[in-house]
Symmetry: C2
Subunit: 339 residues, 2 copies
Amino acid sequence: MRLAVVPGDGIGPEVVAEGLKVLGAVAPDIESTFYDLGAARWHRSGELLPDSVLEELRQHDAILLGAVGDPGVPSGILERGLLLKLRFELDHHVNLRPARLFDGVRSPLAEPGEIDMLCVREGTEGPYVGNGGVLRRDTPHEVATEVSLNTAFGVERVVRYAFERAVARPRKHLTLIHKTNVLTHAGSLWSRTVEELSAEFPEVSVAYQHVDAAAMFFITDPGRYDVIVTDNLFGDIVTDVAAAVTGGIGLAASGNLDVSGTNPSMFEPVHGSAPDIAGQGIADPTATVLSVGLLLEHLGRPELAKKVNAAVSFDLSTRDPKATIRTTEVGDRLAALAG
Amino acid sequence: MRLAVVPGDGIGPEVVAEGLKVLGAVAPDIESTFYDLGAARWHRSGELLPDSVLEELRQHDAILLGAVGDPGVPSGILERGLLLKLRFELDHHVNLRPARLFDGVRSPLAEPGEIDMLCVREGTEGPYVGNGGVLRRDTPHEVATEVSLNTAFGVERVVRYAFERAVARPRKHLTLIHKTNVLTHAGSLWSRTVEELSAEFPEVSVAYQHVDAAAMFFITDPGRYDVIVTDNLFGDIVTDVAAAVTGGIGLAASGNLDVSGTNPSMFEPVHGSAPDIAGQGIADPTATVLSVGLLLEHLGRPELAKKVNAAVSFDLSTRDPKATIRTTEVGDRLAALAG
Ligand SMILES: CC(C)[C@H](C(=O)O)[C@@H](O)C(=O)O
Ligand SMILES: CC(C)[C@H](C(=O)O)[C@@H](O)C(=O)O
């Protein structure tokens, strides 16, 4: 198994080190190669994702990414040139984001165990395609557009994946989140696709919610959700709401999957490079470790993924919520528990 | 003062009756004319918003709307044909949504007084314009698009309004919410507009947040916000998050404003027609009463608006949170307090 590792910037390298520590404890046969990408490289060389690096990344079984960015990089550069470029080039059409309230994590909104949702966010279409433009820039007649592109091909494969995940879970419930009452064209494609595929998965019960209502119910009644499927932009927003109600971004893991297996999938914590706390050794590596769990599951090692998740579960249930996190200590504990 | 009233469907007429009760108690000179629009009319006649009715509505100083819709109307019909049609035809470019945590309202996320934000949502542009389409429908090659249109004209006027509101508030703070790192074209127009106008409002401090981060901070740190300005779709989502953290949709008021005064502005509770509880007399009319407060403010009667808001404030601080709401009793109490 060959893993490409992109530690990135800020707390990225710190949390990745702990992720690899835990990975090494459960799967010592995985061989890691490090790639220097992110804000630091861009500052140094102006490079974002050289073609040669992309080609090398393709030769791996999976990618682990920490976080990229620093305040000196203008907004959009790393996102379009690196993060989204990877998702689009490697056809990461499923952006998988579990949100579970672990024992020991205090949420004002629910009891432990009450929240266990799996968000399946589309990753290669929608408003993220970069299709749009600016006309008459810097004049009073300026017009700026953004086009959301949705294809039957793209929607079908992510909805199918969501059904497959739903049917394998105890509750077998799938919620489509969209805004079909306003975005009627795209909404219709999404709704029809869910309806059509539901015939293939009769055991799965299906619900629909508008994104505004869903963002509210994630807060007032998060326990009602099981698997969720949604478009790229709605998924970006609601998964952060889901993270907020399940202990925060420090615990939110994600996988960017090419379900076909043609390209390596990429695993990363949802949080950013957090320059404000970088270098202090106080970043919580748990989201990265949970991302390693998703990686192991994806590589066909569910028993190892279970060990990692159980270690996190146990550790969270015994953590003193008031104590300062020490990045390496959390990693040491999780590696010892999982190994 | 001439008010057009659209009670609508479900709990709409129930809450509007209480809104008018309170309005009558503070401003007996306002003359109301009722218009029958919504699901019931559509079922009966297929009509949504006849041109003649639209012309009559234009002859009023303001519109009060309850809620429209019932489960028998396909999604999108009333939204596109009535609600959004009104916003677009009457150029309601400012969608004003205050979110305040009143004394006596229990929120797991903040203490009373800690949340007092004013969301200024754009109302006539963005992904709501209905620009898009479907190609090769019902084939494996289907493509569905949605185009977000943003103009300098449209963005400038709503951002200017937000600055004007911010400068008049104690904290004088304005947060732009967008997704400039991904929606770079529209994002650039919004960012540049805020930057340019901030030179005219040097007293206002300005912040920017991506919509995903904002949706999270609305939950984990709602007290940091003062005035917010955002696009039509982001505003739809984040104002529901704001409602969820300030006592729920039963308290969320809104105004759809044509700031130029050319067309009547429209005031409505954010909640829907709630067919599940319609006819039982248990809907909370508070959001409608607060919308009446916004209406009075807009009509240049801030002292009356203050009375209405103070009545709500007092009533909420003395309500038994476990007692069932009785719609007419709440209205009676609020009318007595405000009158
Ligand atoms: C950094 C940004 C491009 C990205 C996104 O919008 O998808 C991030 O918010 C995420 O959720 O992974
Ligand atoms: C009903 C719908 C068209 C509307 C919107 O999306 O604006 C509603 O959600 C709102 O927020 O007023």
